[in-house]
Every structure is written in C-alpha cells, then in structure tokens.
Point group: C3
Chain length 236, copies 3
C-alpha cells in the first residue's frame, strides 16, 4: 500500500482507507451520541470504531508491532476530527441539509471502508508471514472489531454477530478471502487489491439489496437452551 493517497491503485487504497476511517468515526460518534455519550465520549467511541479493528489486528500479529495510529498519527487526526465534527454539526446538517443516517453517501463510504479494511488487514497478515487462513482472519478483524468494540461500549447487541443489520462480517470475510486467493494465484498488486475491495463492497451491497441473511436458530428453543446452561437472567 502507498504511504499516502495517490492515483495508482495502492494510492487509491490508501485514500479509501482514509475515507472509510472518517466514515466509521462519523457513524460511531453519532451512535454514541444516541446513547447519551458526551462530546469526549463520542470522540473516544468514534475513534475506537475507526481504528479499533486495525489496532486489534496489530496486537494479534504482535512481534514488536505497535498500534498503527501511534506512528501513522494522521489516522488519529482523521478519526478525532470526523467524530467531533459529527457530534457538533450533525443536528444542524440534519435540519439544514436534510442529511440522514441512511443516506446513500454514508452507506457507500461505509462499504468502501469495509472493502479497504478487509484487504489492508489481510495484506498486513501476509506481510507479517502468517498462514493464509490467519491472514483472512486479520482482514475480518480489521474490518469488524472496531464496530464490535463500539457496540460493547455502547451496550448494544454486537452487530457483526447478527444478521438483522446486513451481512457485515460475511462481506469482510469474502473480500479478505478473495484478496488472499488472488495474491496466492500470483496476480499483480493492483488486481489483488481491486478484486478484494470489490468483493467486500459487492457482498455488502448485495446483502442490503436482496436482504440476504445467514441462518439463525429459532429463538424460543434458543432461549431455553441458554437458560438451561446457567443464564438465570433470560434474554431480551
């Protein structure tokens, strides 16, 4: 990947990474605002949503690594700026410009983020020398764990576990797998990147459009099963 955005495919991947980072920070911040977090809380949650997945990937890969945003500080600036701006400007933008959380531009930049994150995660894994299957896990972790941490901190059901809000983790797994396969097939860098990013974005868009869902258990049986295993609280 190029160090900075540019017009080559690696440069566009970096640009997509910036755009996805900002988009994740915006939605994370607004979601935190929605559960009553204050300005700093929204900055923390927005930033965690944006850089959390890549951070967990760096911790898992270890080997002397450091959380990437400690050195590539621009990710910290992008995340903080996007999260704070969202908190401060969103109410006015909703009223004045008619923006909404289901707008196509927000869905599109989020999908671009998923595509870029899963490819960059898998790329980091392969470069660190882990086996292909572990590199795919790196891609999934990069694209999804920021959102998972956000959901835990905001006390929401963790989105990546559930199908009701589109096949998020599945899209990341698909994108990362295609990237790794195309790379193992020996195709050049631009082809790998484009194939992975496109697959991730396409799976996400397709699942939204045709309302595709992975199978789940019948919930009544499920509740009894869980209760039998020692959860005396019942489920919502």
């Amino acid at each position: 990947m190029a160090r900075y955005p540019g017009l080559s495919v690696p440069g566009l991947l970096r640009l997509s990474d910036y755009v996805g980072t900002a988009s994740f920070a915006v939605t994370g911040s607004l979601l935190a605002a929605g559960v009553g977090a204050d300005l700093l809380g929204c900055a923390v949650i927005g930033t965690t949503t944006a850089v959390g997945g890549g951070t967990v990937r760096d911790l898992l890969l270890g080997n002397g690594r450091r959380a990437f945003w400690m050195e590539e500080v621009e990710y910290l600036y992008i995340s903080l700026a996007a999260a704070v701006a969202a908190f401060l400007l969103w109410p006015a933008a909703e009223r004045g410009l008619g923006l909404g959380l289901n707008d196509a531009w927000l869905e599109a930049t989020d999908a671009l983020g998923v595509g870029a994150f899963c490819v960059i995660g898998a790329m980091n894994g392969l470069r660190a020398g882990v086996p292909p299957v572990a590199a795919v896990v790196c891609g999934v972790v990069t694209a999804t764990f920021g959102g998972a941490i956000r959901d835990v901190l905001c006390e929401r059901p963790v989105r990546i576990l559930h199908s009701y809000a589109s096949m998020y983790a599945t899209a990341a797994a698909g994108g990362a797998t295609i990237y790794v396969l195309v790379r193992l097939a020996g195709l050049p860098t631009p082809a790998r990147i484009l194939a992975g990013v496109f697959t991730g974005m396409a799976l996400r868009a397709a699942s939204e459009h045709w309302d595709l869902r992975l199978p789940v258990y019948d919930s009544d049986t499920a509740r009894q099963t869980a209760a039998a295993k020692g959860d005396h609280r019942g489920f919502p």
Copy 2:
C-alpha cells in the same frame, strides 16, 4: 508440552488442549446461537471462547509474542470446525441422539479444558520468565478470559465473576497454583502437569457436586451501594 498429541504426559496434555478447545468452541457457538447470532457470528464467538484466553495471555506476556493460533493454525481449524458443526448439527443431535447441554460428556470435556488451559497458561508464564504469581495469573487468564469475552459479546452476566454457575475461575486458580508450586518444588514434568490438571478438574467437579460457592454480598444493600456510586440505571 509436546507439539502434537501423543501417549506421553506432555502429549496427553496437548490432546487435552485440543479436546478442551473443541468443547469450548461447541458451547460458545451454541450459547451465541441462543442469543440470536447467525452462522458466522456463532463461528466467531465459538472461536473466541476457545482461543480467547490464550490470546489475551500471549498479549499480556508480550515480548514479541504473537497470538498462538496465528502460528499453530490447527487451533483455528479445530475451533472453527467445532463451532460450525455445533451450529449446524446440534438441533438434529438434540432430537435424534438425545444430546443436551448438560450432558456428562460436555461437562467432562469442559472440565478437561479448564484443567489443561490453566496448566498450559502457567507453563507459558514461567517459560517467559515472569514471577510465579504472574504465572498463576497467566493460567487463570488462559482458562477464563475466552469465556469472559464470549459473555461480554453475548451481553450475558460474565460467568467467571459469579458463583451461581459453579466455581470456574477458582478451579483455574487452584490448578495453576498447584502446577507452579509443584514445579518450584522441583518435581519432574509429568508430575507437575498431572497435579495441575487434576487439581483444576477436581475443584471444578467438587464445586458442581457439592454446590460450593464463594461468598457474595447481600444484593439489596449492594444495589443501593452501586446506585449511590453513580449508576442511575439500577440493576437487573
């Protein structure tokens, strides 16, 4: 510990580790299914339950380590296979074979997992050169944090904190402590391993059988205390 299962004591420890990993993945996956996670969500939760404790231990020990399943990929395969198989086959196995989540074979493999994990964790700590007390913490973390992450992701009360579902963390602490003490006493490897694993399993079985519990606070006072400290939500 032996690299692969075998008939020596270290080889049996590795085998117990595989069996415990699969058992944790099965129960994690079914618990996630019980709160409405889809197929991929159950694979993620099952795998996290199985390898999460050892992963946190590796992160805490640091010093250039990498999450163990990034290199010993067989743990990833065992976890994913067990979690996916449980999701897909459990309903049929419940009906056709009469299997249940409280079956003795599932309790036994879970207990074997706790015994193996706490010993392996403490062993990793001592080999990394940390003081004995920190090695015991490594054992407890290895045996319990996978389940703790599972409970957080599934929005359940964290089992290791509570006594209502048996003395889980206490069994791990006991097994890890005995392993470290026997090792400090200079006994040979097989004796250390057997003493630690047996202690962990025996404590777990004893707490189930005699319904042993650690002390807790009276909950009414407790709720008021918590409310007074700033929790305006009350407790369930």
Copy 3:
C-alpha cells in the same frame, strides 16, 4: 519516575501511583460486589480496574513490551490485597466506622490516581518515542480504560463516556496534555510532573464541585436516530 516511593517529586509520583492503584482496586471491588460478583470475581474486577488502563497502554505501545504488572509484581499485590480487603472488610467498616463510598478520602485518592495515571501514561508514551498527540492518548488510556473494562464486565454504562458521573476522561486528557506541553517546553522533571498531576486533579475536583458537564444530545432524537440505524432493541 523513581522505581520506589520516596521524598523526591518522582518518588512521590510513584507513591501516588500506589495510592491510586489501591483506591481504584477498592472501588472496583465494591462495585463488582454491588452487582453480585463473588470474592474472586471482586478480586478480578478490582485488579482489572487498577491495572487495566496501564495494561492497555503497554499493549498499544507494543514494541516488545509486557504488561507492566508482570514485572513490577508489587502492583499485582497492591491491587489484589486492596480488592480482597475491601470485599471482606467494607460491610463492617460501613457499620463500625461509618465509612461510605462518597467519603472525601476515597474521592481524594481516586483523584490522585487519575492525576498520577495520566502523567505516567503520557511519560511512558513519550519515552517510547511516539508523537506528542499519541502520548496524550496514552495518558488518557492509562487513567480511564481500567474503569471502562470494569464497567463492561459489570454490565454498567461506561462511565468515561458519560457526563453524569463527572468529567473523568476530560480531567485525564487535560492532565496528560499539560504534562506533554510542559515537557516540550523544556521544564525540568519535577515541574512537568507537578503540573500534570495538579491539572488532572484540579479538573476532576472542579467538575465535581461546580457540576461541570460536557454537552450531550437530546436523548429523544438520539433514540430515534439509533433505532433508525438498525438497533431494534431500543435504549434503556
């Protein structure tokens, strides 16, 4: 920072670190007791509250680091002892000595902890060679993530995100920023430490005293926004 407490400013910083660690462990343990955790659960939560922030900082800084309490084991002893003592002795102390969770000595030691933790975190960051803004993040993480993990494990709203329980994270951010600025300005070690610790403590005390709060969203709009984004559960 001095390796052990003493009468120099660095030695007093170490002492404040010990006092803050014990104070965090006491309140963490009592909070866990308040949600029904047993003795070992309270020891785990108390210790996590006390050393969790510094641990996350060490993981993020990486580069071969290890969780600090694995080598400076005295932090493990202080945390465990304070958490266990709080669990066992608090009910009697409440009745016999009239102690309470809102006592000034507990607020003061907690504030001392925040001040010391944010300075020590930022100091660790700068010594590790990260840019100033990342060092400030290290300070905030050190002072606040232990409490955040505690809240997640206890299924409470995460305090640092909300303003209803005083400007906790803001105080840490202020203290860490002042420490970094004074250090960049070239002032000697004692001046940096005192400026940072004092700022953190003063911001925390001021927010308590004048009931200062950061802005939050109107919660009705917020709930609808969140629901529109896919949370089908509604918010408490």
